[in-house]
């Protein structure tokens, strides 16, 4: 006796969260059954293995049919074939587009191209995430990217509108899209200590302040591309380190303000010129695409690492960066205050986030 056909169709589509997770994680039906057995479901329910197999198959088939709709979540809401309560629909979407930290760190900032897709086997092997799941996550990134890449308006809002994500997930995807578009390097060894959250935080700040959208809300791609004009202008900041008087003045102002307040005052005083040079040079180099990509590498190399080697506490870093950017306003000879603020406010936020072990 072999089962030729075995189906269950409810007027309200049954969604088993546990099986959905296994499906999303890319397990085959037999693996999923084995995992469910291991989780003790047979003992809890008194079911047989055959029942479990049939149930798992059924859910997998349902998910497979839903997958097409999940590729365009508004379709899931308007379709008539599967009657699913709204809360369940939201859960389906949210889980489908959720990603693994380990995976996103591997592809963050990479071009979402066929080439990268080919490397997914390696990523799968390295992270222990099934290839199927890697593909889904990669395709999700790419799909969202394609849909929103040429749109006007806020990136996160567009994503939310077209994919019906939660606020949190939409912002994460905005970061992923932003990184993919600007191809920021995140894979270097010295950046390994950074989490996706760190990068997403920086992305959000950069989107808010450094993109076209920060000045003009009516342009295409406004949140995707950095404001080229702004990046050009950043060259003007070079004067802060090139002009020796200005640099000295800046240093003395900062030192005066921080004397006695900083645990690492002497180290700061000794390193001020190096640090300032590092931060200003990063700005000045952003005209070149390649240097834009290396932004995070540069920040870590030029600021995070020197401070860390001197064991600056985070509080001291914060005090220093605040003082460092504020005192520029007191430099009479410096005319690019607004530019400086646009640059430094964001950078300060990023650096503070990036500064950890």
């Amino acid at each position: 006796m072999t089962s030729e056909l075995d189906i269950f169709v409810g007027n309200t589509t049954l969604i088993d969260e546990e099986v959905y997770r296994l499906w999303l994680d890319g397990y085959s039906v037999s693996d999923a059954v084995a995992l469910r057995v291991r989780a003790g479901i047979l003992e809890q329910t008194g079911a047989t293995a055959a029942v479990l197999q049939s149930d798992t198959m059924d859910h997998y088939r349902t998910f497979h049919m839903l997958e097409r709709l999940l590729h365009a979540p508004p379709k899931l809401l308007h379709q008539l074939v599967f009657q699913i309560p709204p809360s369940r629909q939201a859960l389906l979407i949210e889980r489908y587009y959720a990603f693994d930290e380990a995976f996103v760190r591997e592809v963050l900032g990479k071009k979402l191209s066929k080439g990268t897709k080919k490397d997914l086997d390696d990523i799968s092997a390295k992270t222990g995430i099934t290839l199927k799941s890697c593909r889904r996550q990669f395709d999700n990134f790419k799909r969202v990217f394609k849909v929103v890449e040429e749109m006007r308006g806020s990136l996160a809002d567009n994503i939310q509108q077209h994919f019906l994500f939660s606020d949190r997930l939409a912002r994460d995807y905005a970061a992923i899209v932003f990184f993919a578009n600007n191809r920021f390097e995140t894979a270097k060894k010295k950046l390994q200590y950074l989490s996706f959250g760190d990068f997403a935080f920086c992305a959000e700040l950069m989107i808010q302040n450094w993109t076209l959208g920060a000045v003009d809300s009516q342009v295409d791609d406004m949140d995707m591309d950095l404001d080229k004009e702004f990046l050009q202008d950043l060259k003007e900041l070079k004067v802060l380190v090139a002009d020796k008087d200005l640099l000295d003045l800046h240093k003395s102002l900062v030192c005066t303000a921080l004397r006695g307040k900083l645990g690492v005052f002497s180290e700061m005083e000794a390193n001020f010129k190096n640090l300032s040079r590092g931060l200003v040079n990063v700005a000045a180099k952003l005209t070149h695409n390649k240097d834009v990509r290396d932004l995070f590498v540069d920040l870590v190399e030029k600021f995070v690492e020197p401070c860390r080697s001197d064991h600056w506490p985070l509080g001291d870093v914060r005090l220093f960066l605040n003082q460092y950017s504020v005192t520029v306003h007191s430099l009479d000879g410096f005319r690019h205050q607004a530019l400086w603020d646009r640059y430094m406010d964001t950078l300060r936020g990023c650096l503070l986030r990036l500064y950890h072990d």
Binding site: M1, T2, S3, E4, L5, D6, I7, F8, V9, G10, N11, T12, T13, L14, T45, G46, A47, T48, A50, V51, L52, S54, D55, M57, D58, R61, T62, H64, M65, K75, H78, Q79, L80, V81, F82, Q83, P85, P86, S87
Partner: protein, 1030 residues
């Protein structure tokens, strides 16, 4: 020209990409009704076209309005080649033809293609203006309402229940026409869908005419079926119960304006004064479609069995003369009817007087092939979309399909008579077809009915009152209808354990739902008897003979299994019994499902004893005693599980000695309906006190084993195949309707009856287990209306289809101790009485000045005085969990789902929605779909294909209901699911036929909120409402 149909095509969405180059579609729509077609403009390059068309108007006569579906085809415009069809929508406009149902159909319909499935949606608005005054309206069959529900619909009351209506129409199956060889599968499927739609429409119209002839205005329990007879044709047949219904207006008065667009009414010229004055009779002649080209040159009438309560006893004293009187009177009401049959399974209080037992009849027929070359020529003469009247050229055929059914019905009628009953309730008909052999089956419950509902209020009131006085509630229907002195067979009878006045059988089998006032002990459960019999492959007559020889044995075995399982559960009655015999190439399958209960009025069932034939061997004896112990343990366990603790009855109270309860199974076998003498077959296992199983051979061993393999549902689960679960009455609002299909392939090696039985048993048990597992999140819950259908699509394939609904209930309330029971039932009794008052009885108040129904209270009093508590202690008055507001029910209704959105359409095979009140019936849903694929593997194999198709069918049903302004389908049934596959060719095809009643329901919690807002609502009510909402 009595009607104008108006259609507007608004927009489309999610259309498929038809032009690969642009990834877009240039869509337009053809709207067709009858022979008239309109087209919209082409909406270029869009997957979401906005046509916003003008109103397309069709001027048609009402016959066409009833027969024809509106056909909407979405196409992709192609400048250079033929336009490609995207898909179609068939809309049955019948609901627009009743004055009380929907007035507009408006909404998104899935665009369906028989090859690709659903391909986007289309927004359509449909209206009908009927140009006839109300009188004329009544004359046409347009005004007749149809209900699938097998009880009086919730917001109506029955004035008169007229009786049985039936009709059938026959046509050639387009799939088997010569033209099918040259047309595409799509064209063939569409021709079939359209034809069946047309035939259903015609059938419904004809039934409507019959109803009007009987002076009724509605058909309740309407059941329409298709017989796909292959080359010999296509039969669409329907049965139903004609009624005169009145709309109940009272509780609906303060309902919120529901989303049904009733305001549109004024647009319809219905409101016009009867200026036309055309009171002429309808122009559609009444012609019964008795014709059939399906000649029959061979027919076997199968001896039929009647299942009754068994037992023999002395003659009754008081019952006799009264019964005779009653019979005399009701006979006058029923005798004029050809078939006193009722498709209803639940009845207005007082309608059902006595129940005799299940009557069934089967007949094996041979379908004949077409021998009629004149056919095509004649076809040319008729209008292409009209059905042929087979009478015109086939009238010389002596045997017709109608005659076949008439024969079966006659047999049923005579069986009922043999049981002293003048009517058959819970009546249904079915067929099973394999190649050219067809088994026709009919079954029902023989019953004695109260004549009051059967004719206009001309009944003498005195007699009626006597009836009611003589019938204590809760047990009256169990009392035997047949005369003890003149019984057609010896039977074991006892005095009713409830009232002590009348005789009852020891076991009662019925096809109806448990009457609402029945007194039940504990809970009920689903019982199934499953059976396979191998049969040699044979042709024609030999085959039919082989089948008809097997049938009586199958019936007997099914009956024995049911009896054994019933006793194993410690129960004494079956409700909702449905026995399905399916014929295949090389086997016959029998599947009987019923809901077992313990009726307080019937005696306690005895145990099961096992006896070995050869008690020589010591180890064998040991084995026997081991088995015996196992069985006794199981019975004890079941009694605990289902809370069966019947009250002990002491002899003194009764006064008269109770005949010793003897459990025997008896079979009544009648040779044919015409013969008055009834040959009977006493197949019981000797005269023993307990039911004895003799395990003298391996077969019997198997039987015993199979008895014990049925695993009870996991804790928290109950199941039944009736509308409601006896013993549970506190439903919460969560429901989940589902369909599950399984097909197994038998290994062709060593096929024996035993192996087959085991396979079939495992299939059903595993299916049930899977359901329990899948629905575990709903615990505590009950699977209601579990409906199994077996088919044998191929030699070694067995297909089982199950449709049921899972309903959650409140466990705490269910476990309430017996302490509060009497209090509760007293309360309930009073609410019941109130409910009764609003129920139909007021209509006969002129003929019955006194309160017609003293039932519940009196019953309680009598029960108490009888035995000083114990009798009533554990007795639960089973009450239908009807949405009509019982006080206790209201309190338990859960708050509505927080996330429920507008678009949700509930589906349920039950006639009600727990925790809600049905406020309007919008019309019948009767849909037929075909789906075919030539890329089976790509669509996920057979499972993927069928899963998607069933999901699509649900979606289309929901869309139609939503477009009618409804939010639920009740009495939903999947009447047919014919699945054929050819994996080698990567092909599969499936036909599905579903029906139900589209309704609008309002949650009770919402109703209460409204009622509290009503200034007129009395304080008590509003207080109660307030409590609930907090």
């Amino acid at each position: 020209m009595p009607g104008k149909l108006k259609v507007k095509i608004v927009a489309g969405r999610h259309l498929p990409v038809m032009d690969r180059a642009s990834d877009l579609t240039d869509a337009f729509v053809e709207v067709k009704f009858g022979n008239t077609t309109f087209k919209t403009d082409v909406y270029l390059k869009s997957l979401n076209p906005q046509w916003n068309s003008e109103w397309f108007k069709f001027e048609v006569d009402d016959e066409d309005l009833q027969d024809e579906p509106l056909q909407i085809t979405v196409l992709d415009h192609d400048t250079y080649s033929a336009n490609d069809a995207i898909g179609k929508v068939y809309i049955d406009i019948d609901p627009l033809l009743y004055s009380e149902a929907a007035t507009v159909i408006s909404g998104w319909f899935p665009i369906y293609d028989t090859i690709h499935g659903i391909r986007g949606e289309i927004n359509v608005v449909v209206k009908v203006d009927l140009f006839n005054d109300l009188n004329r309206f009544r004359q046409s069959s347009c005004g007749v309402k149809f209900f699938c529900t097998t009880s009086i619909p919730k917001c109506y009351r029955a004035v008169i229940i007229h009786g049985f209506v039936e009709e059938l129409v026959v046509n050639e199956d387009p799939e088997y026409q010569w033209i099918d060889r040259i047309r595409t599968p799509r064209a063939s499927n569409e021709a079939r869908q359209r034809l069946i739609s047309l035939m259903s429409g015609e059938l419904q119209r004809k039934i409507g005419l019959k109803v009007l002839e009987m002076r009724g205005n509605a058909v309740v329990g309407y059941l329409q079926c298709f017989d796909l007879e292959g080359e010999s044709g296509l039969v669409v047949r329907a049965i139903g119960t004609a009624c005169t219904l009145d709309k109940l207006s009272s509780p609906a008065a303060f309902l919120p304006a529901c989303n049904s667009p009733s305001k549109e009414m004024k647009e319809s010229p219905l409101a016009h004064p009867p200026s036309h004055g055309c009171r002429s009779t309808h122009n559609s002649p009444i012609h019964t479609a008795t014709g059939s080209r399906l000649t029959q040159n061979f027919s076997v009438s199968v001896p039929t069995l009647i299942y009754t309560g068994m037992g023999s006893g002395s003659a009754g004293k008081e019952g006799g003369p009264f019964k005779a009187l009653l019979r005399q009177q009701t006979q006058s009401a029923l005798e004029q009817r050809e078939f006193p049959f009722f498709t209803l399974t639940a009845f207005p209080p007082g309608f059902l007087v006595h129940v005799g037992g299940v009557v069934s009849a089967r007949s094996v027929k041979l379908l004949d092939r077409i021998h009629n070359p004149a056919f095509v020529g004649i076809m040319g003469n008729t209008r292409s979309y009209k059905l042929l009247d087979w009478n015109s050229f086939n009238s010389d055929e002596p045997e017709t399909r109608d005659a076949w059914w008439a024969e079966i019905r006659q047999e049923i009628k005579s069986h009922a008579k043999a049981l002293g009953c003048h009517a058959v309730v819970g009546y249904s008909e079915s067929t099973s077809i394999c190649e050219e052999v067809c088994i026709l089956s009919a079954s029902g419950t023989a019953a004695v009915l109260n004549p009051r509902f059967l004719q206009d209020g001309t009944v003498e009131g005195c007699l009626e009152q006597r009836i009611e006085e003589n019938l204590p509630a809760g047990c009256g229907f169990c009392h035997i209808p047949y005369d003890e002195l003149n019984m057609p067979f010896p039977a074991h009878l006892t005095y009713c354990y409830n009232c002590r006045k009348q005789k009852v059988p020891d076991v009662l089998f019925t096809t109806i739902d448990l009457p609402t006032d029945a007194t039940v002990v504990g809970k009920g459960c689903l019982i199934q008897a499953r059976l396979c019999r191998l049969k040699k492959k044979a042709q024609a007559e030999a085959n039919a003979t082989a089948i008809s020889n097997l049938l009586p044995f199958m019936e007997y075995e099914v009956h024995t299994q049911l009896m054994n399982k019933l006793k194993l559960k410690g129960m004494n009655a079956l409700f909702g019994l449905r026995i399905q015999i399916t014929v295949g190439e090389n086997m016959l399958m029998g599947l009987a499902s019923a809901t077992a209960v313990y009726l307080a009025a019937l005696p306690m069932p005895g145990g099961i004893q096992i006896a070995g034939k050869t008690p020589s061997d010591g180890s064998y004896e040991q084995h026997i005693s081991h088995m015996q112990k196992k069985i006794s343990d199981t019975i004890a366990k079941n009694k605990e599980l289902y809370e069966i603790n019947p009250p002990e009855i002491s002899e003194e109270i009764i006064g008269s000695p109770i005949p010793e309860p003897k459990q025997r199974s008896r079979l009544l076998r009648s040779q044919s309906e015409s013969s008055d003498e009834v040959t009977e077959l006493d197949l019981s296992h000797g005269k023993k006190d307990a039911f004895v199983l003799e395990i003298d051979d391996t077969d019997a061993m198997e039987d015993v084993h199979s008895l014990l393999t049925d695993v009870p549902p996991p804790s928290g689960f109950y199941s039944c195949n009736t509308e409601i679960m006896p013993g549970i009455n506190n439903w919460t609002s969560e429901i989940q309707m589902f369909t599950s299909v399984r097909v197994i392939r038998l290994s062709s090696l060593n096929l024996t009856n035993q192996a087959l039985n085991k396979n079939f048993n495992d299939l059903c048990e595993n299916l049930l287990k899977s359901l329990y597992f899948k629905l575990r999140s709903m615990i505590p819950c009950c699977l209601c209306h579990v409906n199994f259908t077996v088919s044998l699509p191929e030699d070694e394939l067995i297909q089982v289809t199950v449709t049921a609904v899972a309903i959650t209930f409140d466990k705490n309330q269910a476990l309430q101790t017996t302490k509060t029971h009497i209090e509760k039932s007293l309360q309930r009794a009073s609410t019941d009485n109130e409910e009764l008052l609003q129920f139909p009885l007021e209509l006969c108040s002129d003929s019955l000045p006194s309160h017609p129904f003293p039932p519940a209270k009196e019953h309680l009093e009598s029960a108490r005085s009888n035995s000083g508590i114990p009798a009533a202690q554990r007795a639960v008055t089973v009450e239908k969990a009807s949405p009509m507001g019982e006080g206790n029910f209201r309190n338990r209704s859960a708050p509505p789902c927080a996330n429920s959105t507008v678009g949700v359409v509930k589906m349920t095979p039950l006639s009600f929605i727990p925790g809600a009140k049905i406020t309007k019936y919008l019309g019948i849903i009767n849909m037929f779909f075909i789906r075919e694929t030539t890329s089976l593997r790509e669509e996920g194999g057979v499972s993927g294909f069928l899963h998607a198709f069933i999901a699509e069918v649900f979606a289309m049903v929901r869309a139609h209901v939503a477009a009618l302004g409804g939010n639920a389908v009740v009495s939903y049934i999947m009447k047919q699911c014919v699945f054929m596959e050819n994996p080698n060719k990567n092909q599969a095809q499936c036909l599905i036929n579903v029906s139900g009643d589209a309704v609008i329901f309002v949650r009770e919690s919402e109703l209460e909120v409204i009622s509290t807002q009503q200034p007129t609502a009395n304080c008590q009510q509003s207080c109660a409402g307030g409590e609930v909402t907090t």
